[in-house]
Every structure is written in C-alpha cells, then in structure tokens.
C-alpha cells in the first residue's frame, strides 16, 4: 500500500498567511518605501476655499526657492490638455484648477523639489488670487432654484442636478401602499464618511523620455483599469504603461479612483525626466480623496396588521460633491442600492434617486461596501425595526415572518436581483440563540423597571457582491470580468497570477488554497503574483467584495482547465486511456486500481520531460471569468448596549455576528475580515463622519476630528457561521470582506433605539455621539 497521502491544505483550512513573513519583519514594500535614483518629491497646493474664482496664480517666488525644480499650475496642465480628467462615473474632474475651485482642498498647483521639506516651504510662497463665491453645502440647497451653479464649465449643465434614477415598479408599489393597514416611514441621513486606510494614497511616477516606458508605482486597488484610464487620458500607448501596486496599507475603497496627484506626478515626470514621488498627507487624504455614503434617505414600508410586508418605497438624494466621481458600474447611478428590499419577501418596491453637485470633495467610493449596499441595508434594517415597534411585534418575529424562505431560492427580488441562495431563518435563529435573546428580553424588562436602559439591536442583512456579469456590469465600458493565469513548474510548484490586488485580505494565501484544492499542490508551493499589470492578466480589481466571487472563481476555473491537461498527462504516464483516470486531491489513479497512482508533481514533471507526441509541452492556463450572477452573502447581527439616559453615553456589551458567506476558503482569514468589518461598522455608527461648516470648510481634516476607534472603544466580537454555498460560483463562495460593515451599523443603531423605546425616541442619525443621543432624548421627552 502507498503511504497515507498528505492532507492538502486547500479549502476550509486556516492556513497561516504567507504574506505575514515579510510584514512582521518590517519588510513590506509600501509606496513610500520605493526610492528611485534621481527621484524628486511633489507637494500639492490646495484651495482654502470651497468655492472661489481663480484670478491668477503667481509661482515666481516659489520657483526661486533653492531645491525647487518646477511648479506646475492648471494652466501648464491645460497646455498639455491635462487640466481635466474623466471620473469613474463618466463625469469630468479638474486635475489642477484653472477657472475656479469647487471644494476646499481642491488641487490648485504642485511643487516638485529635490526634498519634500523644500517642496512644502515653496508651497507657502505660491500666491493665488481667489475671489470667493457663494457656497453650496447641502444637496437640498443645491437643487433649489437660484442656487449657485457649481459646474458652470460643463456644457448643457444649467443647475446642480446630476441624475435621476429609478428601479422597481412604481404602480405595483403604489397599489401595495393603498392596500396597507400600516405605513411606517423613516427619514435618515447616512453621513459622509471616509475609508481612511492607515496608509494614505501616493505614487512614484517614472517616465523614461527616451523609450516612453511609463512605470507608475501606485496605491491602487485596480491597477489594470487604471492603466487603461491612463492610456485614454494621456494618449499614451498602453503597452508602455506599467502600473505597479506594491503592498497596500489598507484600501477600503479609498484606493480605487484615479486622483489628480497621480496625473500631475506622471506629467511632471514626463516633463522633467525624473521619477516623481507624491505621498499624500493625512489631511489631503481626508479632504480630497474618495469619501463614502452621504445619502439623504426617505423610506416607507407598507404592512398588513399581522406584520406581512406588502411594499417598500424609497427616495434618496445623494450628495456627490463637486465632481460626480462614484466608483461604480456605469448602468447603476446609485450602485446596487436597489438591493434595499434586503432579506425580505417584499412583493413590490420602488426606488428613486437623485444626485446633486455640492461644494464638497468628490468621491462616492464604497467604503468597505459593494456599491452603496451599505446605505440600502441600513435603511431597510432601521425601517423593519421601527415597523416592529409600530405594530407592537418583536423585531425578530417580524423579520422571521417576512424573510425569503430557503425554498424560494433562487429568488427574484422586486427590483430585479436574482438571489442565489440563503437560509435567513437559520442565521437569525443562531444569532438569537447565541446572544440569549429570550433571557435578554427579561433582563431588559427588569432593568427598565429600575430605570436602566438596555437595548438589543438586530440586523439581518443581505448583501450583493461579485460584480459582475458582463451584460450588466462595466466601469467606463470595461466589463467587470477578471482573470487568473496558472503555471505549474516542472518540480510541481506553481505560480498563480491574478488580476486583483490585495490590501490585506490575504490573497497570497487564499488564492493558493483554491489552487491547492483543485490541483493538490500545497499552498506554500504556490506563489501568488498580483498588482503588476505587466505580469498579471487583466481585471477590474479588488473592491466590492469581488475578489473571491470573480478572481477566486477564475482561479478555480483555471486550475480545472490545467487539471484537464494533467489528466491527459497522467493517462500517458499510467499507460491507460484518459477515461480510465480518476482524480482526487492531487493524485491521479487508474479506475479500479487505486495503487496505480501518479501525483500532480509526477504529472508536472512529465509536462516538461515526458509528454506524448502531439501534445504541447508545459502545464499552464489562463481563464477569464464572467460571473453568471452576483453572489448574496447574508447574516444576522445582534448587539446589546447599555445607555446612560442622563448623559447620552452608550456602551456596547455584546456583539454577536452570524455570517453566511457560502463556502469559507480560509476560516481564519474570513473571521479576520468579519472582525475588521464589524469594527468599521461600529466606527460609522458611533463616531466617524466628515462634516462641513456653512462656508464649506471641512470639519474632519485630521484624525483629531475624523474619529477612528482604538482598541479601547472597539467592542469585542463573537462570531459564528452558517454555510449556504452559492450555486452560481464554482467553489460555492460568496465573498465576505464587507458584510460586517454593511450589516452592522444598523444593529448598533437599532440597539440604542431599542434601549430608548421607553423614552419615545424613534430615530437618531449616525454617528450616535453622546450629544446626539442626549438631544434625541430631550426632544422626545419635550414632545411627550
């Protein structure tokens, strides 16, 4: 008998991360670690005004500072036709302002110097003649007649309205509301937040004037798409552009777009013949790069007296800032917000959305979120909670009564999504059991009798991720399909080249595990390469929880493609026909004779040393995956809080999270993703927000005011799972990076609102600062 085969650490194994070996030694290679010979440093001058005409930019003094090599202005960029660039939503955005500035922090000029300190010195000497204009800081004001026109340079743009978008069936929804016993409504603002990875954005642009070779090291979550955008914007031949994303210190959506700094640094490198480095300061990151959310939402739910949900009506107003720069599929103006029917069997729904320009930073990136799913999930879960109170039902019962049932999948939602699979009742029941729901209800009642406020908040989210099928999903026309290339070396080791780019999600480990599962090569024997457009297949990048659904699928498929050839090679080695070869975990058997076996290593060696006549040598493949559908991760979160009614302070006592993301490739990494998502969900509920004063000054321009919780404020998390594989993914996985950020904010807010039920508080908009909680109590009490 052959020796017991070694366990292949494929899917389902908590393999320790391969990438950690460099990080724990301080040997990561982040953007600011890149140093090239002759490299210059760039600093950007930004507008102190939210809206002002530029009458002139005098750079003469700055140019005279020793060490300053060049000062770039909007006029200089305009001479090269680079003063404006396209956004990911097909709008335009100023690279360096020429006519006027439209938000505080907008890029006005750049200094290139041989030392970053000198570049900062010179910035202070640039004299800009601004003529302040009236400022628009809310989308409501933006749409009023007579509001100052922000995009006066745009042909055909006579007001600040950007788009109107609808989804669902208005007539059917109106009918549902007409038949309802009860209608519950909620107005809420999902505040402007910012992904704020601990590493800011930056680049090192290196243009070789002699050869035209343009290498841009860049903190990019989507290097291939960026390469194409650069080719289109700058008219550069795409084969000469190489985008290289080194190790990335967190992205969360912030590193998807093209920012003016990248364009200016590249232009400067081209003009000066030196590499140019630009590293954002934190303030620049907070005031000018991709913000998230900022939706003013109105939701209404129609219900029968017994709690049966009949319809959902939503209208929302999006504050898009000065340039419409949402990073999302072009067909959907508010991303995948129309998943707003959530986990419920809602027969009718209608969503309408409008977008407006304001004098704020552009962005509209999905901060750890699949294209506005977060706002949708928050709205429905807050509405359902309030509906339960209105009907006098337990919030868990109302949810259980209306969940889509397991036998209804695949389920077509009222706004047209085809939900792949789910067991919402299972996730909810597990969460209720783990949190001890019934006991908590008793404790809550007893506490209320003593004047203490305990709240239990639930949220049962359904996410939609993995964009997407080519028919519906593209960004700037680029279909959202992704590739994987796999090469098996003669010694049976392998290299996997993928189109997506890790920012901490552990791709170098999990994607190796997918290959391990499919081919039986241990993950430590598989190198995963990513982030370098010259050396990886095309794809749209890592965001919207799409790596596992798209690139993970491509990886499984390319491994299967390689396996088909491996079976042919095994048949040759075993001297049987291909039909007589069976495969199991890296071993190829003769049917009925399991001791006649060749390993994947034997086969790989043969692919280069002993292959049959007529067969190509080598063992490799490439696969571009076009998802047949999106995937729909789901779960239930239960949060327990205590509120001090006297001060408005609240403390989280428990967070129980049940996640179902389908098949888990590396459970350790999946749990880590959920921890991170829960922490960011808590942060959004409790403290993160970017606000503006009436002059359009950004409040929240440093981490003193943009609050990110530390370990001290962040609650402990208890994580659990159910597993409902996706039938629309080759390994049944659904994606998990963002579930907890999508699902948890509503659970935290619902918990606080639940605690405040005896005081009559119906809603508090995030973030739930103690001041806001106290003020809501005062308002409710005063109105009583």
């Amino acid at each position: 008998m052959a020796a017991e085969p070694e366990v292949i650490r494929g899917i389902g194994h908590s393999v320790k991360r391969k990438e950690d070996d460099r990080f724990i030694r301080g040997k990561g290679n982040y953007i600011d670690d890149i140093k090239l010979p002759g490299m210059l440093h760039m600093a950007i001058l930004r507008s102190p005004f939210a809206h002002a005409k530029i009458n002139g930019v005098d750079v003469s003094k700055a140019q005279g500072v020793p060490g300053v090599v060049a000062v770039v202005t909007g006029d200089l960029m305009a001479q090269h036709n680079l003063a404006w660039m396209p956004t990911l939503s097909g709008d335009t955005q100023a690279v360096l302002a020429t006519d006027k500035v439209r938000f505080q922090g907008q890029e006005v000029a750049a200094v290139i110097a041989d030392d970053p300190y000198v570049a900062k010195d010179a910035l202070e000497l640039i004299d800009v003649d601004y003529e302040p204009l009236d400022v628009v800081v809310t989308p409501q004001r933006a749409l009023e007649p007579g509001a100052p026109l922000i995009r006066d340079e745009k042909e055909g743009q006579s007001d600040n309205h950007i788009y109107h978008w609808e989804s669902g069936d208005k007539e059917a929804t109106d009918k549902a509301f007409a038949e309802a016993d009860t209608v519950v409504a909620l107005d809420t603002h999902y505040p402007r937040s910012h992904p704020s990875p601990v590493e800011t954005c930056g680049c090192v642009a290196d243009v070789d004037a002699a050869t035209g070779q343009t290498t841009i090291y860049m903190t990019s979550q989507a290097p291939h798409a960026i390469r194409t955008v650069f080719a289109l914007v700058a008219g550069l031949p795409e084969e000469n552009i190489r985008i290289f994303s080194p190790d990335i210190g967190g992205g969360f959506g912030n590193k998807v777009p093209v920012y003016p700094g990248y364009v200016v640094a590249t232009a400067a490198s081209l003009l000066l013949g030196h590499p140019v480095k630009w590293i954002e300061e934190r303030t620049e990151n907070l005031i000018s790069t991709g913000f998230a959310r900022d939706f003013h939402m109105h939701g209404e739910m129609a219900l029968k007296r017994d709690g049966t949900m009949l319809g959902l009506r939503v209208s929302l107003l999006a504050d898009e800032g000065a340039f419409h720069a949402d990073a999302q599929p072009s067909k959907f103006k508010v991303g995948l917000f129309h998943i707003v029917t959530g986990s419920y069997d809602l027969p009718a729904a209608h969503v309408e959305a409008d977008g407006a320009y304001t004098n704020k930073a552009p962005g509209g990136v999905a901060y750890r979120c699949s294209f506005r799913v977060t706002e949708a999930s928050y709205l429905i879960e807050r509405l359902v909670q309030n509906a339960a109170y209105e009907l006098g039902m337990d919030p868990s019962e109302l949810r259980l009564k209306n969940f889509i049932k397991p036998e209804q999948f695949p389920y077509i939602s009222a706004t047209g999504f085809e939900y792949d699979s789910g067991d919402y009742h299972g996730a909810m029941n597990l969460a209720l059991e783990k949190v001890g729901y019934q006991d908590l209800l008793k404790e809550q009642e007893a506490a209320r009798a003593e004047g203490k406020l305990i709240g239990i908040g639930l949220a049962s989210f359904t996410e939609v991720v993995g964009a997407g099928p080519h028919k519906d999903y593209d960004i700037l026309g680029l279909k959202m399909n992704d590739g994987a290339e796999l090469r098996i070396h003669p010694t049976g080791k392998a290299i996997l080249k993928i189109s997506s780019q890790t920012q901490g999600q552990g791709h170098e480990t999990t994607f190796a595990q997918i290959v391990a599962e499919e081919l039986g090569i241990q993950p430590e024997d598989i190198k995963v390469q990513h982030g370098d457009t010259d050396n990886t297949p095309y794809g749209l990048g890592t965001y919207a929880s799409r790596s596992t659904p798209t690139v993970g699928a491509a990886t499984a498929m390319v491994a299967r493609r390689v396996r088909e050839k491996a079976i042919k090679l095994a048949a040759h080695l075993l001297e049987v026909s291909e039909d007589d070869v069976e495969y199991d975990k890296g071993r190829f058997f003769v049917k009925g004779a399991p001791d006649q076996v060749k390993t994947i290593q034997d086969v790989a060696f043969a692919a280069y040393t002993n292959f049959p006549d007529g067969m190509e040598s080598g063992l490799e493949g490439v696969y571009y995956y076009d998802p047949p559908n999106l995937t729909f991760p789901f779960g239930t979160y239960a949060v327990v809080v205590e509120v001090d009614a006297e001060t408005g302070e609240w403390k989280v006592r428990r967070v129980v999270a049940v996640d179902d993301c389908g098949v888990r490739i590396n459970p350790m990494i999946v749990e880590g993703q959920i921890h991170g998502g829960l922490a960011e969900g808590f942060a959004i509920a409790a403290m993160e927000q970017i606000t503006f004063d009436e002059s359009g000054n950004c409040i929240g321009s440093t981490f003193l005011d943009y609050l990110i919780p530390t370990a001290w404020e962040t609650p402990r998390f208890e994580t659990f799972e159910t597993v409902t594989p996706s039938p629309h993914h080759p390994i049944g996985a659904k994606g998990v990076g963002e579930s907890a950020t999508v699902g948890s904010p509503a659970a935290f807010v619902n918990a606080v609102i639940d605690a405040l039920q005896p005081l009559g508080v119906k809603n508090i908009d995030m973030p739930l600062t103690s001041a806001r909680v106290w003020e809501a109590i005062q308002a409710a009490q005063g109105g009583a």
């Binding site: 900062k120 006297e646 408005g648 409040i699 530390t710 404020e713 103690s770």
Partner: protein, 289 residues
C-alpha cells in the same frame, strides 16, 4: 506636514536654557515633550526660529511631597505622573486625570509643564491644578516668581509666562487627612480632547466641607474655576442636595461653544452631571481617606 527650518539648541542646564531664551526672546520656543508644539510646527501654525530643548536639564523631573507641598517638576511625563506612588496615594484628582491625557504613547513624551504652558482650554491638567489650588514656578535670568494657576492661565493658548521664562515646577498644597477628588472626562475616543472635563477636590473637616475645588475643561476660553460653586460647598454639609446646587452653579459658570462635540446646551448639562457625580465620588474617597 513638515515643519519650517529652525535652529536647535540642546540646553544642558537650566542656566544655559534661560540664557538662550533671554538672547532669542520671542523667536525662541521651549521644547519639552513636544507633543503639542511639534504638531503645531508641522501644521506651520508655529514656526519658531529657535528651539531650546530642555529635556536634558537635570532636576526638572522630580515628584516629591515635603513641608505640606507636593512639588512636581515641569518635565514629569504624564505616564510618570500616573505611575507615581505619592500621587496615587494622596492626590486622586491628579491620579484620575493623568491617564486620561492624550493616549498612552503620547503620555510617554508629553510633560505636565508643557501641557500647562500650552494653555489649551480643552487641556485636562489646567482644570486639575485649578481645583487643587496649585501654583507654578517661573524662572528667568531675571529671577523666579510663583503664580497661582488662576493667574497663570490668561486666555486660549495664552498664559502669564514671558518669552524668557521657563515653567520649572508645579506646587500643589498637600491634602489634609480627609480629602478626596477625581477627574471625569467625556471624550469621544482615546486621544480626543475633552468634550467636557471636570476636576473636583474636597477637603472634609468634622463632617463638613472645609474646602472644595472645581476645575472645568473644554467649556470656555480657558480652564474655568467656578468660584460660586466652590463657595457654595465651603463650610457646608456634604449632602446630595448641596452637591446638586454646586453642580448647577458650575454649569452656570461654564460658557461652552457648540461644535461637533455637542451643543453648548449639552456641554453645560454635562458639567452639571459630571460635577454632581464627581463630588459624590470625591466625598466617598475623602471619607475613606
């Protein structure tokens, strides 16, 4: 964020530092922990021509109680303050406040003297020292003077210190046997400035309040000592009603501004609640002393 150029001077003695300050006048700044000054320089809100580094001057980092006075050297780091045995045993107001200043890493460098001289109305220690009736020692080549905290703190980021002076020591009257106190801080997260901070100090004598000290953080242009609230307590019976009355007076003495941390109304309300709660805690600790 990168600072402008300056000349760096490392003083090895107090005399050397004072000479440097006397020479450079307004163009010089004292560099102690640097945790407030360096961020200001990086933002280029401050661009001094000369920095006089006092970190290497011996004898400015002591904590000792003698002859009814606690002397704290101005270079004592916040974490040293928090770890001090004598402070832990006898100065609960300081002991409660020190670990709430900034964050644990910043506290390794930030100094008590720097914190007081920075005079941020949202700074915690100014309120503590007001409540305790502390004074500061200022030295220059011209001599030495001692100022009570109430006179030292002048306005937002403004103290009575002259450009050629160094704050060398903080003097806190030692408590009698039955004294207690605490510091309550409402902050949005670790490392945040106080939305509202309240320092309280109570000295009991024969069942009545001999002296009460209160300092308020973040609710005015500087740290505030609500004298009427203190007066309402002095000589009175320590009852819940009396504490509530003092809290009400303290809230009246505050004049906070509305901002992202909360409305003026909320902050004033929080002064009321925290003074009441703080006095209760201080009373319990005084009784246990």
């Amino acid at each position: 964020m990168l600072p402008a150029s300056f000349e760096y001077h490392r003083a090895s003695s107090l005399e050397e530092a004072l000479d440097l300050l006397s020479t450079f006048g307004e163009g010089a700044k004292v560099l102690a922990g640097g945790q407030s000054l360096i961020p200001l320089m990086k933002l280029r809100f401050a661009s001094p021509e000369h920095l006089v580094d006092v970190n290497h001057i011996a004898g400015l980092d002591g904590i000792a109680e003698a002859d009814g006075v606690l002397r704290i050297g101005s270079l004592v780091r916040h974490n040293a303050l928090a770890a001090s045995d004598v402070i832990g045993a006898r100065y609960p107001t300081i002991a409660a406040a020190a670990p709430q200043v900034a964050d644990p890493i910043v506290r390794n460098l930030g100094t008590i003297g720097g914190s007081l001289a920075h005079a941020d109305p949202a700074g915690d220690l100014g309120s503590v020292m007001l409540a305790l009736g502390a004074s500061v020692v200022l030295r220059s080549t011209r001599g030495e003077r001692t100022l009570p905290m109430s006179e030292f703190l002048v306005d937002t980021f403004e103290t009575a210190i002259s450009a050629d002076e160094i704050l060398t020591e903080i003097r806190v009257p030692a408590p009698s046997a039955r004294a207690g106190g605490t510091y309550l801080k409402l902050e949005r997260k670790v490392g945040d400035f106080a939305t509202v901070g309240v320092a309280v100090y109570l000295v009991l004598s024969n069942g009545t309040i001999e002296r009460a000290g209160i300092g308020l953080t973040g609710v005015g242009l500087k740290n505030i000592e609500p004298e009427q609230a203190e007066a309402a307590l002095a000589g009175a019976e320590p009852t819940e009603e009396r504490f509530a009355e003092a809290a009400r007076l303290a809230a009246e003495a505050s004049h906070p501004a509305s901002d992202v941390r909360g409305s003026a109304e909320y902050k004033r309300h929080m002064v009321d609640i925290y003074v009441r709660r703080g006095l209760s805690t201080a009373f319990d600790s005084a009784r246990a002393a």
